[in-house]
């Protein structure tokens, strides 16, 4: 991060932001906070269903929100959890304002799944595992998933490409995703 006046201001503010609440606390370094957690917050928002531009906006708002309010940092995991909570709130608020459905109604369960998959390293380990597991899929399964996620092709298009029925394409992708999920879970747990 550039060390201009803004940064020094952030650092100065960080000292006042750390509130006294009686427990052991680590002084909040906002610059460090952004550098350390922005990827995780952004990915979390994307996983919740935010489009990339919205994830950018809400990631920014999440950190601004943290900066506006007194905040005690007890440890990385607690901070990451709190940031996710704030991000989740902002996401819900935005969805409501846009009169759109919230992606998940079960914040706690989603949080629990997220912590398992990506809670400790912003999701990098899960991505590495996923890359490895993806290569272990059959060629047809990889092609189906590439078409689905890269080209955002319809199921009909994918079935046409693979020369199978639409139902067969659905089954193939479901099986491939189940394989991926099991493989990644084995690797990261």
């Amino acid at each position: 991060m550039a060390t201009n006046g803004g940064v020094s201001k952030m650092e100065e503010d960080s000292k006042t932001a750390a509130s006294s609440s009686g427990g052991e606390q680590v002084e909040l370094d906002l610059t460090e906070l952004v550098a350390r957690h922005q990827v995780a917050v952004w990915r979390y928002l994307r996983a919740l269903g935010a489009e990339p531009a919205l994830a950018d906006d809400l990631t920014q708002d999440t950190f601004l929100e943290i900066m506006r309010k007194p905040f005690t940092q007890y440890g990385d995991a607690a901070t990451a959890s709190y940031l996710r909570r704030v991000a989740h709130n902002l996401f819900i608020s935005r969805r409501r304002r846009d009169v759109r459905m919230t992606v998940t109604e079960h914040a706690e369960k989603f949080e629990s799944a997220w912590v398992r998959w990506a809670g400790f390293d912003s999701g990098n380990a899960a991505l590495d595992a996923l890359t490895d597991c993806f290569e272990r899929l059959t060629e047809r399964a990889r092609l189906a998933l590439r078409l689905r996620f890269s080209g955002e092709s319809t199921r009909e298009t994918i079935a046409g490409e693979l020369g199978i029925t639409e139902h067969g394409a659905k089954n193939l992708m479901q099986r491939a995703k189940a394989q991926l999920r099991d493989c990644v879970e084995r690797k990261i747990t």
């Binding site: 940064v7 708002d61 007194p70 799944a113 998959w117 999920r181």
Partner: protein, 701 residues
């Protein structure tokens, strides 16, 4: 882990792996936005200080508005970097436009901090009250609106608000109306003290009407010697009428009211009552009062009672006393004992104890959501709960790992020295809000005359009509075995409005008589209710009576027409015994199957050689509810199980906390109940509900 959410995360990660985009570096963008916001804040302060005639100072004192959105849009659409002063200039201009528009808007010319539905709360509502200029504020204005109008917070998620406490099996009208608490306070302020005979007569009359209305008959009056024995046992713990009358110089031939009055003037009665009230106030196990600090507390309480001191003020003096370790004054020692007992566990347990012991309110529900069926509208708001949590910040009890002793610390002076700490809490839908230290009703503690947050809370509690009700309800329980009015609406539904009226009357008179608990006990022990004879049920009756007969008996019990002594056996009133009884009685004995009753019959096992068959009988509550939770109870449990926001432990807590008088042991039973019901969560919760309900309804032996 939920497969559904794992798949959602997997989908996203797969999309990122195959298609991107990868997470961008937003550091500079966030930095610029933050710098701009800070600059805008400075500008706003300058503007406030110069008191521009056309700008609403209240608005300018709000948190900054536009900069984050402005900075975001620019930096997202273009890589061109804005210098902070340009951003500040833009933000200031936006702020001025917004301010002018706000003041010019006819419907919002008044204070933004008005009540619900005011101008500041329209972020998620339709736009008529929103001035056009404030749209510039974007997301930041949401926070501003919340800050200006805290009452609007719950409105943000109306569709997902849990309402677990409006129990579906409550068929009676709600006992408390929103304005009732205020009216009660007014009544108590203006109430004239009545003669004791008038108060007793009023209680008798109320209950005679209740019994007539629900069609039950009182069990009849105890014989005089038995009544005197009961009075002695309950009020001073003595058993022999002759000996006690002699030693205390009381005429055993006096009438009920005169006998009670003479007895209550003795120091023995004050000491006995002090232990009972102290126990109800802070501990579940009376033996804890035998600790060194506990005896100091009960001694002070006894002196306060025998001296006719205002009991609420006495409790207040204890709650606001010095908690520092060096202080050895008796009051401070007593205060440390009280806080060690109140605060052991965590702050939420402390809140539960404060609610149920001092405020006649089950506060555990309000931790997670507003409680529409709370006995106190003031304390029904989740925000109030967390404000009190903030108020108690710094008071902690920790167990020493070496010797298991409890260590009390009070860091309030340190924590509240500069500013009130903020606590965060979560709405049912997952949104996080903050609360500051305020006494219920919304007054900041430092706006009161109290010298500390603790003292502010103590003063409010002692002066609250809720504490008057709590004292009356607890005293009633000491004499009659159950609360006059349960702290959770909807469980015990018999004649609640009428019983609430009696509670109000007694609480009002308790206050009017200078909160002298001796007088209160004298009134209650002088009533006809207290003189009712116990009903005994033979074993044969247990096995042969119909459900309808037991239902009527239970109704009479609930309405205090029959003193409750129907559970037989050694520990028939304990939770473990109730559960054990239920399990043993859940089968059907072939030899007894033809009896003309639908009662659950015991599984009779042949006794071992040389042993007698001992058949203990269950309590009436068990008999009436065996094998048939009501439809409403099933609906309640279904609703609870459907609340996916709650964990299993929280669901168990919810059931247990319906009955504050039941201690924490049922929480330990949930796993066993699950095993017993082969993992059927619904049946486990229904059993737990039955068990705590049955246990709570049984009086102490």
């Amino acid at each position: 882990m939920s497969k559904e959410y794992s798949d959602q995360i997997l989908d996203y990660l797969t999309a990122e792996m195959l298609n991107g985009p990868s997470p961008p570096d937003l550091s500079e963008r966030i930095e610029a936005a933050w710098a701009a916001e800070k600059d805008a804040q400075s500008t706003a302060k300058v503007a406030t200080n110069t008191q521009l005639p056309y700008v609403d100072a209240a608005l300018l004192s709000q948190p900054p508005v536009a900069p984050p959105v402005q900075a975001r849009k620019k930096s997202f659409q273009s890589t061109e970097k804005r210098s902070p002063w340009i951003a500040a200039l833009t933000a200031s201009a936006a702020l001025l436009v917004a301010a002018i528009a706000w003041t010019a808007w006819p419907e919002n010319g008044n204070d933004v901090a008005e009540g619900e539905g005011g101008g500041g709360a329209t972020q998620f509502e339709s736009g008529p009250k929103q001035p056009p200029g404030t749209n510039l504020a974007g997301a930041s204005n949401t926070k501003k609106a919340r800050a200006a109008n805290p009452g609007s917070r719950q409105k943000q998620s109306p569709k997902k608000e849990l309402n677990l406490d409006s129990l579906p099996f409550d068929t009676s009208p709600s006992g408390i109306q929103p304005e009732r608490e205020t009216q009660l306070a007014i009544n108590q302020e203006i109430a004239e003290p009545l003669e004791a005979s008038a108060i007793v007569g009023s209680v008798n009359q109320h209950f005679a009407e209740i019994w007539a209305a629900i069609g039950v008959q009182a069990s009849g009056r105890l014989a005089e010697p038995l009544l005197k024995n009961k009075i002695l046992l309950n009020l001073i713990g003595a058993e022999s009428l002759t000996e006690t009358s002699e030693s205390l110089e009381i005429d055993p031939d006096l009438q009920q009211a005169a006998f009670v009055q003479q007895l209550m003037e003795t120091p023995e009665a004050a000491s006995f009552l002090a232990k009972k009230l102290a126990s109800a106030l802070v501990v579940r196990n009376p033996r804890e009062l035998e600790e060194a600090d506990g005896t100091v507390f009960t001694k002070l309480a006894s002196e306060a009672i025998s001296g006719g001191q205002d009991w609420n003020k006495f409790v207040q003096s204890v709650l606001e006393a010095d908690l520092s370790t060096e202080s050895k004054l008796p009051l401070d020692v007593a205060a440390k004992f009280v806080y060690r007992k109140l605060a052991v566990g965590d702050k939420h347990r402390m809140m539960n104890r404060l609610g149920s012991n001092l405020l006649n309110t089950n506060s555990s529900c309000v931790r997670c959501h507003d409680n529409k069926s709370s006995t106190s509208p003031t304390l029904a708001k989740q925000e109030s709960y967390w404000s009190i949590v903030a108020l108690l910040n710094g008071v902690q009890v920790r167990r020493n790992a070496d010797d298991g002793s409890l260590k009390l610390t009070d860091k309030q002076n340190e924590i509240f020295a500069n500013k009130s700490p903020v606590v965060y809490y979560t709405l049912p839908d997952g949104q996080v809000l903050s609360a500051t230290a305020k006494i219920p009703g919304g007054v900041d503690w430092d706006k009161t005359e109290a010298g500390s947050p603790r003292a502010a809370l103590a003063a409010w509690v002692a002066d609250s009509p809720l504490m008057d009700q709590a004292v009356v309800n607890q005293t009633w329980k000491l004499l009659f075995g159950r609360h006059l009015v349960p702290q959770v609406q909807g469980i015990d539904v018999v004649a609640i409005p009428q019983r609430q009226a009696v509670l109000d009357m007694l609480a009002t008179q308790y206050r009017a008589h200078g909160r002298d608990v001796r007088s209160l006990v004298t009134w209650l022990a002088s009533t006809d209710l207290y003189a009712q004879a116990t009903v005994s049920v033979s074993r044969q009756q247990w096995l042969e009576e119909t459900d309808q007969a037991f239902e009527k008996l239970q109704l009479a019990e609930i309405a205090f027409a029959v003193p409750l002594s129907l559970g037989v056996g050694r520990d028939a009133n304990s939770l473990a015994s109730s559960l054990d009884m239920m399990n043993r009685f859940s089968g059907s004995s072939p030899t007894l199957a033809d009896l003309p009753t639908t009662l659950a019959q015991p599984n009779i096992e042949k006794p071992g050689k040389g042993k007698e068959l001992v058949l203990e009988m269950p309590s009436v509550g068990f008999v009436v509810h065996r094998n048939r939770p009501t439809a409403a109870e099933r609906t309640f449990v279904d609703k609870l199980l459907g609340a996916s926001e709650l964990s299993w432990a929280e669901k168990v807590d919810h059931v247990v906390s319906l009955f504050p008088e039941v201690n924490g042991r049922p929480r330990d039973l949930d796993t066993k109940l699950l095993e017993y019901h082969d993992g059927n969560a619904k049946e486990a919760l229904l059993t737990l509900l039955w068990a705590v309900k049955n246990n709570a309804a049984s009086p102490p032996k």
